[in-house]
């Protein structure tokens, strides 16, 4: 959504506008005037039409494709908004915190008079004909949750209507601190020290965070109905990246609002290791280009005719930390350029075109960019392509590789493996609006694509899609995830909208597999009501899920044969002060014995060492722990390192070789 769509999600929600009239009462009584136009006549009700709420089963599988597993317990869970059936493996659900009242109608059930009143005011003549769950969801889904960012004990949950800030000092007792009302969608968030960044792309975004949006133009004078009119520019409109000062977490202040031509669907915080005075924001705009009358210099012309087109670029904002109010766009890199010809639409200008053919419409936007400053690279998920950028000079990122894939509909997001040898891209087929994990939906579509990264070259290794089939009333497709810092393995936790949360091991890029999951049944069994997890991220020992419709989920990992308690405990040794997932940080593990134990478990699982050596290692580690790292026990550990190094040189897989090296290192110099 980041993406939350894309579409990012792009959520959608049958429902959003439904809230138009919901704020009746409760101390913020709005003053309404009589509508100038008559309400639609009841005769307009779509009675003759087929039921649009009926779910659509997938078409037959295309030849050569396979679908997902229908024998999985996740396939047939009972429906419900707050009481859906649940299935999990290797994950414990600790908490669901419902969306704050200020971000929804606050109704308690479909029979709530407020809900009924809203639906009535929406012009639905006969309320009894609308399915009850829908009535409920019209109210509840009005304000979609989107992406997450973290700092210390604070969690920032983006929403189309603003940001909610939670205290997660005790994750199982997460508590709301601040609801920040500032609409404009989709509310992608990042946090750096005292600054909170927020993406705004929708035409209702206002500089002053007002909720009223902008009015339609008045009807044309008689006789001029057919004339095309250029809309009036709105000086109060805001589309771009907002910057808030969160020094007082209960009273954030807007310090800057940096306007961009396409708004900001997502953004990425970039911290230049060589620049302590500024941070940078990469802005991915996916929406329409606004009029130059509204923001000078904006134009959406064809790339060959308009060298200043706001298409075919990203924007870079420089934020001076001492004076964030002076933040501004400092460059608009042409990341799709053809370096030989200088064509802005370089990614699709290859091949011959018959002159009778229309010019191809090229990749002109990134949806989301993940930067990995430690290796000087960024992976851009850019609608029609996955691209690799050299970001050593963060103001002037340079494309060094690009890939395409006929199975991919929309390149949505990217994650590097910690060692930088792999990139996981996601395909948000259907924009997050549709059911795309049905039994007959091919498991190469709407999936992760795992690429090898060697030097500056990407090469496809495999696909990973949620293994469990989902119902046809569950919007489901690959979405946002983060690495889980299990040493010795590449593991990602990922949200699949109503497909739930899936934890995937991609240590072997060619053979990814699932190690844990959590899923709920659909919100409704008869129609698709948008919901599900937008993002699922690991942060300092817990997994947080941003549930579009329901609220905020908190999870803990539990041991299974796929992931041991030692591996989970080792993951918990990695602590970060801030987490902005698209600004990927290098994970480093302390030389603690719990990390060593995780490696031992892995070497046993892969049978890289015989059982007697595994037992000996465990015994030595346990004795060392019991003795509180006495000198003699430490010496014993150290004595085992050499043979591990030896085994590393003959290990059959690079993963085992790396584990043996890392284990030997810890045994040589274990932390107290």
């Amino acid at each position: 959504m980041k993406r939350v769509r894309n579409v990012t999600f792009r959520l959608a929600g049958v429902a959003v506008a439904a809230i138009v009239l919901c704020s009746i009462g409760n101390g913020i009584q709005a003053q309404t005037t009589a509508p100038p136009t008559p309400a639609p006549a009841p005769a307009k009700a779509p009675e003759a039409e087929p039921n649009p709420f009926a779910a659509v089963p997938a078409p037959p599988l295309p030849p050569g494709m396979t679908g997902s597993n229908t024998n999985d317990p996740r396939y047939k869970l009972t429906p419900g908004l707050y009481d859906a059936g649940e299935a999990s493996m290797g994950m414990k659900h600790l908490l669901l915190l419902k969306k704050p009242d200020a971000f929804q109608l606050g109704a308690t059930g479909p029979d709530d008079p407020k809900v009924q009143k809203t639906i009535g005011q929406l012009g639905v003549g006969d309320i009894s004909k609308m399915p009850k769950p829908l009535q409920m969801v019209i109210a509840e889904l009005a304000f979609s949750n989107s992406d997450l960012a973290f700092q210390g004990n604070h969690l920032f949950q983006g929403n189309f209507y603003g940001v909610n800030i939670y205290d997660i000092s005790n994750p199982a007792k997460t508590a709301l601190l601040t609801s920040l009302v500032c609409p404009g969608g989709q509310g992608d968030v990042s946090v750096y020290k005292n600054l909170l960044f927020m993406s705004v792309e929708m035409p209702n975004g206002r500089l002053d965070c007002g909720t009223q949006g902008f009015p339609p133009e008045p009807p044309p004078p008689a006789g001029h109905e057919k004339e095309r009119r250029v809309p009036v520019a709105q000086k109060d409109r805001f589309r771009g990246v907002r910057i808030f000062d969160i020094s007082d977490i209960k009273n954030p202040k807007q310090v800057a609002a940096v306007q961009t031509c396409r708004g900001s669907h997502t953004h990425t915080l970039v911290v230049d290791p060589n620049d302590k005075d500024n941070v940078y924001i990469y802005v991915s705009g996916t929406s329409f280009v606004r009029q130059p009358e509204e923001l000078a210099g904006c134009s959406g012309g064809e790339p060959d005719k308009d060298p200043n087109t706001a298409l075919f670029r990203i924007d870079v904002i420089k934020v001076p930390l001492a004076a964030p109010q002076d933040a501004k766009v400092v460059s608009s890199p042409r990341v799709f350029i053809d370096p030989r010809t200088g064509a802005l639409n370089g990614l699709s200008n290859g091949g011959s075109h018959d002159k009778d053919e229309k010019k191809p419409v090229d990749t002109n936007q990134c949806h989301d960019i993940t930067v990995y400053s430690a290796i000087g690279l960024a992976a851009g998920a850019c609608s029609g392509n996955g691209i690799l950028l050299d970001i050593k000079d963060p103001v002037h990122p340079k494309r060094v590789d690009a890939v395409n894939d006929p199975n991919y509909s929309y390149w949505h997001s990217a994650t590097f493996s910690n060692d930088g040898t792999k990139v996981v891209f996601t395909d948000e087929w259907g924009g997050g609006l549709g059911a795309r994990c049905r039994p007959n939906d091919p498991n190469k579509w709407g999936a992760d694509a795992i690429f090898h990264l060697k030097g500056d070259n990407l090469s496809l290794a495999s696909y990973y899609k949620l293994p469990a089939a989902q119902g046809d009333t569950e919007n489901c497709v690959a979405h946002n995830g983060s690495l889980i810092p299990v040493p010795g393995r590449d593991i990602e936790v990922q949200a699949w909208y109503q497909g739930g949360v899936s934890v995937m091991d991609f240590t072997d890029a060619a053979h990814p597999f699932e190690v844990a999951y959590f899923d709920r049944g659909p919100i409704d069994s008869k129609m698709l009501v948008l919901g599900g997890d937008w993002s699922a991220y690991w942060y300092n020992g817990y997994i947080y899920g941003s549930e579009i419709a329901r609220g905020l989920d908190v999870f803990e990992l539990t041991p299974t044969k796929f992931l041991t308690q030692n591996e989970i405990d080792a993951a918990k040794t990695v602590r970060v002060a801030e987490l902005n997932v698209q600004n990927q940080q290098k994970l480093e593990w302390p030389a603690q014995l719990v990390v060593a134990k995780a490696y031992v478990d892995q070497l046993e699982r892969s049978q890289a060492l015989p059982a007697d050596r595994i037992a000996a290692l465990r015994k030595a580690i346990q004795s060392a722990e019991k003795s509180h790292m006495s000198k003699s026990k430490r010496a014993k550990l150290k004595g085992m390192a050499a043979s591990l190094e030896e085994s590393a040189s003959t290990a059959s897989s690079p993963a085992d070789s790396a584990r043996l090296h890392a284990l030997a290192d810890i045994l040589e110099h274990p932390a107290a």
Partner: protein, 252 residues
């Protein structure tokens, strides 16, 4: 349609001034947060400061324009949205007609070509567009709008069985006939060029929508229109590369 004019958006509530000692404590808290890093000492000071945060009830805050103060809203605050535009409704109605033709075109694929790539592409377009039609129908129905478009001055267009109005990029009846009659490589060519034309028309419709004042402020519609735009641009690119890869035109 409902028009919802707000004379005064919220009661203005003057924020209570914090005592001096309270702000001092918060400054300390901030420093704690900044120093945090990965040092455990930082974590605990941060945790202590934030424990203090949660002892008070959650607040609802609406920031002002950049540089302006924020307002604290009453806890009973509920959300509101801008009024809906007629252009939104017409966009959805028109796009349903538009998408229906794409589904009709892809339905020809199994009986008209053996091209594996085209079959895969067609399956994906068919699936996406069928889903999107349902989405648009729901969007309209929930808002009490007709799913079909009223054609002022053309009452015959409203009747079932009558020729559909042509939205931008839609294939003419002649083009559709030619497609139905073609087989093999010729079908592939007509399908690809036709679908590119068709998708281009959808892009025009999206542009027209956002060029209308007050339109596109509904989040569901905005996301849908933006996503349809993105997806169709990507599909155009794939279809264009399929056209470029095979010299289909020579076989015409």
């Amino acid at each position: 349609m409902f028009v919802y004019t707000r004379k005064s958006e919220f009661y203005r509530f003057r924020r209570k001034r914090r005592s001096r000692s309270q702000s001092a404590r918060r400054t300390v808290a901030l420093l704690g947060a900044l120093i945090t890093a990965s040092a455990s000492a930082g974590f605990s000071s941060c945790a202590r400061a934030q424990q203090a945060d949660r002892t008070t009830a959650p607040v609802v805050v609406q920031p002002g324009a950049p540089g302006k103060p924020s307002r604290t809203l009453p806890p009973s605050t509920r959300a509101t949205l801008p009024q809906r535009s007629q252009a939104d409704v017409e966009f959805m109605q028109g796009m349903i007609i538009h998408h229906s033709q794409a589904v009709e075109m892809t339905a020809l694929i199994p009986s008209h070509t053996e091209n594996k790539d085209l079959r895969l592409l067609g399956a994906r377009i068919s699936s996406s567009q069928s889903d999107e039609i349902k989405f648009m129908q729901r969007w309209l129905a929930v808002r009490g709008e007709s799913i079909s478009m009223a054609m002022p001055g053309m009452p015959e267009m409203d009747k079932p069985g009558q020729p559909m109005a042509l939205m931008p990029g839609m294939l003419t009846p002649t083009q559709m006939d030619a497609l139905r009659k073609a087989k093999g490589a010729e079908f592939d060519y007509l399908f690809l060029t036709g679908m590119i034309q068709h998708h281009d028309g959808a892009l025009t419709m999206v542009k027209d929508l956002f060029d209308t004042a007050g339109a596109g402020q509904d989040a569901a519609l905005f996301d849908f229109a933006t996503d349809a735009d993105n997806t169709q641009r990507a599909e155009i690119r794939i279809m264009q590369s399929m056209l470029d890869k095979k010299p289909l035109k020579e076989k015409q």
